[in-house]
């Protein structure tokens, strides 16, 4: 082997020539071919791959929409209507992009839920988890700006309400808001910069996703039992086992996606956004898109403006420190009966907040939102830290292979030590 060339195992001469100089094929073989993956994944582990596919769909449809969209207040709404009516298959690309955003959040919520239930955020995967939270924040920013672009009533007023939030910050608040607006209110400069940033952020997301996957491949995947694989009997090569399984999950995901796009394309949206933006007329009821509703409910639950803003951002920021708030050595909640109940309650609480976020700020929704917000934070700040110390977990299986392939009851003292380091 000449000095400077990578030692490639590929036989095909073209593939080999490329691989010797830029070992992408070796990398693909290692990371997605033979990569040892726990054999006991359930379908919850499909959602990371689904999120990746969804991101690619959003970028593809977004790039093609941008060929026809006009980011000017006088033309934006009309340009979207033109896409729907005159551009060949424009309606399809637009509806895929619009419902793709909702699908993206559905998939990512389930993906995050999996991480929280099975303790995927615990050592040594803390940085993997934190990168994921960064991706989630970038997604929220991208989706928020994207919703402004059609320049409907909800676009405009949602943008007004959310950008106004930043004025809650003392000293720098007004300056931040005027920077976001580029003027004295949400107007053409705002729309223009949101379009530019909405086009940019997904590529930042791609970068962070790359880091997220690299971090994952350093530590290896978690699994439903939360115990580390001990050897090859506990793992399977990613291909063909998980390529086949993920492909099936992908088709099911497409069926759900197609159901929305072709038969209920506006179900998850709000009719008011088909009214062109009017700065003089506020809709009776400003509602963000459904995936922001829980955070919106938290914002409104606090009677103080700055408090509401801090708690709303805090509800996502707290995820960053989850690995340190929950110091229990047991990963999977399958073996943590009390934490499991607390977490399932937290899940219900998340939906309660989502429901309340769509309601007008009246009783009984106000008091319910407050209770739900209190529990949301108590789960992270009080319950998990306490349970880490007080809870008695169930005995863990000896190994993945043992648990998956069966075998009798464990001999006394043979339970695997929790938190196996890989």
């Amino acid at each position: 082997m000449a000095i400077g060339l990578h030692e490639s195992d590929f036989k095909n001469p073209v593939v080999r020539w490329i691989d010797q100089r830029l070992p992408v094929f070796t990398m693909m073989q290692k990371e997605y071919g033979t990569f040892p993956t726990p054999r006991n994944f359930n379908y919850f582990w499909n959602f990371g791959a689904l999120a990746m596919v969804n991101l690619m769909i959003m970028i593809a449809t977004g790039v093609f929409l941008a060929m026809h969209y006009a980011p000017h207040t006088a033309h934006a709404f009309d340009s979207v209507e033109r896409i729907m009516r005159d551009v060949n298959y424009g309606w399809l690309i637009r509806y895929v992009h619009m419902n793709g955003a909702s699908m993206f959040f559905i998939v990512v919520f389930i993906h995050i839920w999996r991480g929280m239930y099975y303790g995927s955020y615990k050592a040594p995967r803390e940085l993997l988890w934190m990168l994921g939270v960064v991706i989630f924040l970038l997604m929220m920013a991208t989706a928020f700006m994207g919703y402004v672009l059609p320049w409907g009533q909800m676009s405009f007023w949602g943008a007004t309400v959310i950008t106004n939030l930043f004025s809650a910050f003392p000293l720098v608040g007004e300056w931040i808001v005027s920077l976001l607006w580029g003027g004295f209110s949400v107007d053409n400069p705002t729309l223009n910069r949101f379009f530019s940033l909405h086009y940019l952020l997904p590529f930042l997301i791609v970068g962070v996703v790359f880091l997220h996957v690299v971090a994952l491949h350093i530590t290896g995947s978690n699994n439903p039992l939360g115990i580390e694989p001990k050897g090859p009997q506990d793992t399977l090569p990613f291909h063909p086992y998980y390529t086949a399984k993920d492909s099936f999950g992908l088709v099911i995901y497409f069926i759900v996606f197609a159901g929305f796009v072709f038969f209920a394309p506006n179900y998850l949206g709000h009719p008011d956004n088909y009214i062109p933006a009017n700065p003089l007329v506020t809709p009776a009821h400003i509602v963000p898109e459904w995936y922001f509703l829980p955070f919106y409910a938290i914002l409104r639950a606090v009677p103080n403006k700055l408090g509401g803003v801090l708690l709303m951002f805090g509800s996502v920021a707290i995820l960053f420190v989850l690995p340190w708030l929950d110091s229990s050595p047991v990963r999977s909640m399958r073996f943590r009966p009390m934490a499991r109940i607390a977490f399932l309650l937290w899940t219900v609480c998340f939906f309660v907040l989502m429901y309340c976020g769509a309601k007008p700020p009246e009783e009984p929704y106000v008091i319910i939102s407050r209770i739900a917000t209190a529990y949301y934070f108590a789960y992270f700040l009080v319950i998990l830290p306490l349970l880490a110390r007080l809870e008695r977990p169930l005995p863990l299986p000896e190994s993945i292979a043992r648990a998956v392939l069966g075998g009798g009851p464990l001999p006394a003292g043979a339970a695997a030590k929790p938190m196996e380091k890989a």
Partner: protein, 180 residues
């Protein structure tokens, strides 16, 4: 996308057939998905709807020419004099780099309608205004690389390979044409 997993160890023929069918199905799906994206880049329906322009010939006196925009490009409409028509008819085909009789290029002798785009590299030739240079053959002259066109819009000298294109047009009355 839907990589349906070729079997690692050489599977039974049945397994390979299933893999083949599944992969083929998935490939059809991927192809079907690609088409709307490509189609969306083709001219949209409102662009296609603006595909024709009407020109009123009444105000154009003999010897005069007008330029109209059609599909984003200039179209030269020239009201030819008898001398110009005769000059166009008198040219032997051997002298034409792109042989074409004048009769084949006009519907009515005195009205010449050509696309004002030089067939070399796309500049707009001079010759519409009375003060313009018209080249050596009384038609048009392209200043970019020196192509000369005659009174039938045919290339006579210079690097342009083809005659000025005749767009599709029709007389909707004696004094009105619709282009496109």
């Amino acid at each position: 996308m839907a990589d349906s997993g070729e079997a690692t160890a050489g599977g039974t023929p049945r397994r390979d057939f299933l893999n083949l069918v599944t992969t083929a199905f998935a490939a059809v799906g991927v192809g079907a998905v690609a088409w709307p994206f490509i189609a969306s880049m083709q001219p949209s329906r409102d662009v296609l709807a603006l595909a024709s322009t009407e020109v009123d010939l009444g105000p154009i006196a003999e010897g005069q020419a007008v330029t109209v925009m059609w599909r984003g490009k200039p179209v030269f409409v020239r009201h030819r004099t008898a001398a110009e028509i005769a000059a166009a008819r008198a040219v032997p085909p051997s002298q034409l780099p792109d042989p074409q009789p004048d009769q084949a290029r006009v519907q009515r002798d005195q009205w010449l309608v050509v696309l004002g785009v030089c067939t070399h590299l796309g500049c707009v030739p001079l010759g519409q205004k009375p003060t313009d240079a018209r080249g050596d053959y009384g038609g048009w002259f392209c200043p970019c690389h020196g192509s000369h066109y005659d009174t039938s819009g045919r290339i006579r000298k210079g690097p342009a390979p083809r005659n000025l294109v005749i767009p599709q047009y029709a007389f909707i009355s004696d004094t009105k044409i619709r282009i496109g």
